[in-house]
């Protein structure tokens, strides 16, 4: 290599950043399972033989996997997926709910198993890397979240705290989600959207351990609020809650339990907490989702939006996202 080539090599190593996350074997295994054309050689493992060669679709397996949660290194993998129709009422005294059927759609090629006795885990077909069924309640899909050694999920009518090691439901609190929005854990409080509509938005906070209600924060909505919105509540890396509230996004300080800030006239796109806001067209509802690298969150369009907006870009001064400073053409960015 000559000097110029050495300089180029040195610069490439120096400037190329570290990735925000690593690729894992589980990512690759899921990729293999998701691409039917690509599979390990026959005879490698009985799962591959029984599933891939047997010709069963992976759809139900992937549906099950979509609600699996990796519950931390110590707890291994916890799954909380069960049949929609199998739900039994979870008692509010903290005792685990009764056992229910794990399937209501038996496959002709691979009949469903009877549920194992209570307290016994069940390996799930296609549950790569040893995923097991640990809880037979019917949780809302995508409602699972984890923090501080506990899992939290929403059932029909309950917010549940789950032990990821055993799958036992440890505490429950009555809660009927008005819109689909994952519980958010900030500190020792689990926050949920208690009501969401034209009459206003109310967030409720529950003690992360006991699920006793500890806070209720009204969030005034400006403009229209869609009850079909999804993912309207998220937490930022600054420990604040961000709530899609009509034509604006409200910032709630969970410690002060009040709205402290409002991002006015937000548009769809990612918000980098410290720097800039990518905007699209106006719409009636919002969805908020943390970015993978936790540097910000996505604002996305309402499911009611009937047309794809032409993306635009806005930048905002750090800490003052309410005052976008520039508008220019840009492409929409991925999370």
């Amino acid at each position: 290599m000559n000097t110029e080539e050495r300089q180029l090599a040195e610069m490439l190593h120096r400037v190329t950043p570290e990735p925000p996350r690593r690729v894992t074997v589980e990512d690759v295994a899921f990729r293999l399972a998701s691409e039917p054309g690509r599979k390990p050689r026959p005879g490698r493992g009985s799962l591959w033989n029984s599933v891939f060669r047997g010709g069963h679709g992976w759809t139900p397996v992937l549906a099950a996997l979509s609600v699996f949660a990796i519950a931390g290194a110590s707890a291994g993998i916890a799954t909380v997926a069960t049949s929609h129709h199998s739900r039994v009422g979870a008692p509010s005294d903290g005792t685990p709910p009764a056992t229910a059927s794990v399937s209501n759609s038996p496959s002709p090629t691979a009949p469903s198993q009877s549920p194992p006795p209570a307290g016994e885990t069940l390996r799930v077909a296609g549950g790569m890397w040893g995923a097991k069924l640990i809880n037979r309640n019917s949780f809302s899909q995508g409602s699972l979240t984890g923090s501080g050694g506990s899992l939290y999920a929403v059932e029909d009518g309950y917010l549940a705290r789950i032990d990821p090691a055993s799958g036992a439901t440890l505490q429950t609190a009555r809660y009927s989600p008005p819109v689909f929005s994952r519980p958010v854990v900030v500190g020792n409080t689990v926050w949920v959207v208690w009501s969401y509509g034209g009459g206003g938005i109310v967030l409720r906070g529950y003690d992360a351990r006991t699920l006793a209600q500890v806070a209720s924060v009204p969030v005034p909505a400006a403009g229209g609020v869609s009850n079909l919105a999804q993912g309207v509540l998220t937490a930022g890396p600054d420990g604040k809650l961000y709530v899609a509230a009509g034509d604006s996004v409200a910032t709630v300080d969970p410690a002060a339990r009040q709205v402290t800030h409002r991002i006015s006239s937000p548009r769809a796109g990612p918000v980098r907490w410290r720097s800039r806001l990518t905007a699209a067209s106006s719409m009636s509802g919002w969805s908020l989702q943390p970015l993978q690298d936790r540097s910000g969150c996505w604002f996305t369009t309402s499911p009611l939006a009937s047309r794809r907006p032409r993306p635009r870009c806005r930048s905002a001064v750090p800490g003052t996202l309410s005052r976008p400073t520039a508008v220019s053409g840009a492409r929409r960015a991925p999370g």
Binding site: L12, E35, R41, G45, L47, P106, Q141, R331
Partner: protein, 184 residues
């Protein structure tokens, strides 16, 4: 909102993971992702590229380790996949996390500017020249290894590298980066 049906099928074993595959992924995924970022210019695509290459390597892992060349093979798949994407994908709309109205806000944003300048410079290169730059100068592969990965001759690698360097010389902001400046 609730899951409508989850079918629980009998299963007696988990998929077998090739010996040494996990160790390789844990040890090398960062470097592979960084190469992927240089090739594609964004992390989601880089991750996609690396996962694609590792998924291709999985079924052949035993043979690759016998040949003592798993990383060369993975990089070869990455480059070929990248070149195939560039041929086949519609590039009229580019998914990007980079915004055009970037301003510098202290050192953190100077780093971002440096990365943007680097990616903008690499974007000026045709795909094969870009692949040669990444393999040769970032992955530190020899000319013959680079040629093997790209399925071309050593002479072609030299020609691509020479042309790429000529183009990069004219890239705005890259000269300052090459002579020092912002670190990641």
């Amino acid at each position: 909102m609730a899951l409508t049906s989850v079918e629980v099928l009998p299963v007696d074993d988990r998929p077998s993971e090739p010996d040494g595959f996990r160790e390789f992924v844990e040890a090398r995924s960062s470097a592979l992702l960084r190469s992927g970022w240089l090739l594609t210019g964004d992390w989601p695509s880089a991750e996609d590229l690396v996962q694609t290459a590792l998924a291709a390597a999985w079924p052949r892992w035993a043979s690759l380790t016998r040949q003592d060349a798993p990383e060369l093979y993975v990089r070869k798949i990455m480059v070929n996949t990248f070149l195939r994407w560039r041929r086949r994908r519609w590039n009229g709309e580019v998914a990007t996390g980079r915004l055009p109205d970037m301003q510098a806000y202290g050192d953190a944003f100077a780093q971002i500017d440096a990365r943007q300048a680097l990616i903008a410079a690499l974007d000026r290169l045709p795909p094969r020249q870009r692949a040669v730059v990444v393999l040769r100068y970032f992955a530190d592969q020899t000319e013959s290894q680079t040629a093997a990965a790209m399925g071309c001759s050593v002479g072609a690698v030299k020609a691509h590298a020479s042309k790429a360097l000529a183009r990069l010389r004219d890239a705005p902001g890259l000269a300052e980066l090459m002579t020092g400046g912002v670190t990641s």
